[in-house]
């Protein structure tokens, strides 16, 4: 039987609780958002004692469903001031499922300036001192923890970014090679973990295979899963071979690739940082494409990047990082971008938030666009906690205010992803209206995804709404977004859940899961003080035409305010 692990850092009390019935069929983002909604005061200090950090594998974690290894972490965000869920691949979701742990709730705050490691194993849960890893980057601290606790443990960790409680701080999740290369990156959750005095969480699932989901028809579930996996191996080959870097060329062609702090939508150096160039570089240096970040992934879009000498440098070099730390900074060298990625992984910083912040710093003249060495130095300053480092580490919105720059691509305080909303207008609607802030994973309207023209304001409201609901469903299930947040996938999930429950669970029931989670999140945000004025893109997107196509973000605010107006169960319509 699954349980919820509650750890109070103030009293050091540890409880294993039965799962309330109302949480039985929630997982991932559904569970983190529901627990935060139930237990956290929306007006609390996000870095104070009253906030909670909730860690939950997806509902389908540990099952044969392909690509079901996502881990969600939720809290009130110190970056947005609203509810936050951030998810990552890696090994921890399955390990928690193996231990029968449906969620971990961290509450309270450790006394003084002491740091701790939480060790979770089948027979015990302990709060240990973190003396030998305090102050270290993720790579070294994870190395020491694996040496101490065994090479097969999964680890969640914060780097100096989280220890300094920075708005761009991440929680790293170890990948299948034990490297801290997957990150719950958005929204400053590393700062929340740091505020509670937890440096790392070690999960040891040896001798444990409990699971967290009872399946009525396991044979039928396996059959649906295997058929789905087989289909994806064929249809996702582009992602397997080129990774998400494959998006550089088409997004550049669409005029939506952020370039020099969102001043252009196409980059003259795009070919030097695109999917083909990355694939060639990986091959030439003994790196790897087709790398799976978590067990059970059949898409395998991740990669392992080697330097010029053929030595490991970083892993999981992805589109968002390549664009926001590449074209957005005027940098056309994959080696520089990989070095920046390595530092962000080690320091525990969100590459997207930092790409935005450094772009703002470059616009402010702190460094020059295209100066890769300067970008590296600025990240080192964030780690060191210098004056400029502390400003940049708080993210794009703070950097813009401190440095006097108004071209700040952020919504609800969170920096945007690598799709300029003037060229991908549907994604712009998602940025504006997602409870998560400027979050592309909440509903990314890539060209061709929903049958609407990405350059036109028409049709984007319904398209964003539908995609937000379907993306939320994937987040609840713990399924990777790349299985596809679209109608065919909702149909597959309906078939899987029918096997779980032993009775028909239709597509409308599946979509209602997504709607219910969004309702919970929107309600929390309203109670935290947000209103429709927070659902707006920065003004310059509506007034400054984006070269090369001269586009503006021109979806009317009145329509944007209707995105979530229809979030109610179908039966309420009569």
């Amino acid at each position: 039987m699954a349980n919820i692990l509650r750890v109070n850092l103030t009293s050091k009390a540890i409880y294993s609780e039965a799962v309330p019935d109302r949480y039985s069929f929630l997982g991932g983002r559904g569970l983190t958002s529901q627990i935060i909604s139930d237990e956290v005061n929306p007006a609390c200090d996000a870095l104070g004692e009253s906030n909670k950090l909730v860690i939950a594998p997806g509902l389908l974690a540990g099952t044969p469903a392909p690509c079901s290894g996502r881990l969600s972490i939720g809290a009130k965000s110190p970056l947005t001031g609203g509810i936050k869920e951030s998810n990552a691949g890696g090994t921890v979701a399955r390990k928690l499922s193996n231990l029968g742990i449906k969620a971990i709730i961290l509450e309270g705050k450790a006394e003084g300036s002491s740091w701790h490691v939480l060790k979770i194993a089948e027979a015990s849960v302990m709060i240990l001192p973190a003396d030998d890893v305090e102050g270290l980057g993720n790579y070294e601290s994870v190395g020491r923890l694996r040496a101490a606790h065994g090479p097969k443990v999964g680890i969640l960790s914060i780097g100096p970014g989280g220890e300094r409680q920075m708005g761009a701080a991440t929680i790293a999740v170890t990948d299948q090679e034990g490297r801290p290369c997957r990150h719950c990156g958005r929204g400053g959750l590393g700062a929340v973990m740091g505020s509670k005095g937890i440096k790392a969480i070690v999960i040891d699932d040896r001798r444990s295979d409990k699971g967290i989901l009872d399946i009525a028809d396991p044979g039928g579930f396996k059959d649906v899963s295997h058929a789905w996996a087989k289909a994806m191996v064929e249809t996702k080959k582009g992602l397997t071979h080129f990774g998400t870097a494959a998006l550089v060329t088409p997004v550049n062609a669409a005029g939506g690739l952020p370039t020099r702090n969102y001043s252009r939508g196409d980059f003259e150096g795009a070919e030097r940082i695109n999917g083909s160039t990355l694939a060639d570089t990986l091959r030439a240096r003994g790196g790897r494409a087709g790398h799976a970040c978590s067990p059970g992934c059949v898409i395998r879009c991740s990669n392992i990047y080697h330097d010029r000498d053929g030595d490991y440098l970083t892993a999981g070099l992805e589109y968002e990082t390549i664009a926001l730390m590449g074209s957005n900074l005027g940098i056309d060298s994959l080696d520089i971008i990989a070095a920046l990625d390595r530092r962000c992984d080690d320091y525990g910083l969100d590459t997207m938030e930092m790409g935005n912040a450094i772009g703002i710093a470059m616009e402010a003249g702190i460094a020059s666009f295209g100066d890769g060495a300067a970008a590296v130095r600025l990240l080192d300053e964030v780690k060191a906690g210098t004056g400029i480092g502390r400003i940049l580490g708080q993210g794009a919105a703070t950097a813009g205010r401190a440095l006097g720059i108004s071209r700040v691509a952020a919504v609800k305080g969170q920096g945007m992803a690598a799709y300029d909303p003037r060229a991908l207008k549907g994604t712009g609607v998602t940025y504006a209206t997602s409870p998560m802030g400027a979050d592309h994973t909440a509903g990314n309207l890539l060209p061709g995804r929903a049958g609407v023209d990405c350059h036109s304001p028409d049709g984007q409201i319904k398209a964003s709404r539908d995609l937000q609901i379907m993306s939320t469903v994937l987040d609840v299930m713990g399924l990777c977004l790349f299985v596809g947040p679209l109608a065919p996938e909702m149909e597959t999930i309906s078939r899987l859940l029918t096997k779980v429950f032993g009775k028909t669970f239709g597509v409308e029931d599946v979509l209602e899961i997504g709607r219910a989670v969004l309702r919970t999140e929107l309600t929390f945000n309203q109670a935290s003080g947000m209103d429709s004025s927070n659902d707006r893109l920065p003004e310059f997107f509506s007034t400054e035409r984006l070269p090369p196509n001269g586009l503006l973000f021109d979806v009317p605010n009145g329509e944007i305010d209707q995105v979530h107006a229809a979030l109610h169960a179908p039966k309420e319509n009569g």
């Binding site: 080959k237 998006l247 088409p250 992803a417 592309h440 994973t441 061709g448 995804r449 350059h455 790349f482």
Partner: protein
């Protein structure tokens, strides 16, 4: 007649023909539109996410010119 390069950087695996990733050269009559090109290759519009001509997105009414590099993408994935 004009000669163009037709590229499928991601291949196509949707509702039309399965086309592996790759590139081919075609000889076409002058005045050929992208729409005609797709029809001639048996590619339904539904299986196309983005069309670019010489590195910039274009629509199906674009009239092809000699030495154009046309890239056809399925609905884009990833993020």
């Amino acid at each position: 007649m004009i000669r163009i390069s037709l590229q499928f950087p991601w291949g196509l695996a949707g509702c039309g023909p399965k086309i592996p990733a790759g590139e081919t050269e075609l000889l076409l009559p002058e005045g050929t539109s992208v729409r005609f090109l797709l029809d001639s290759q048996g590619i339904p519009l539904k299986s196309v996410g983005l069309i670019s001509a010489n590195g910039s997105t274009t629509k199906t009414d674009y009239i092809l010119k000699g030495r154009d590099k046309i890239q056809i993408y399925p609905p884009l994935e990833g993020g």
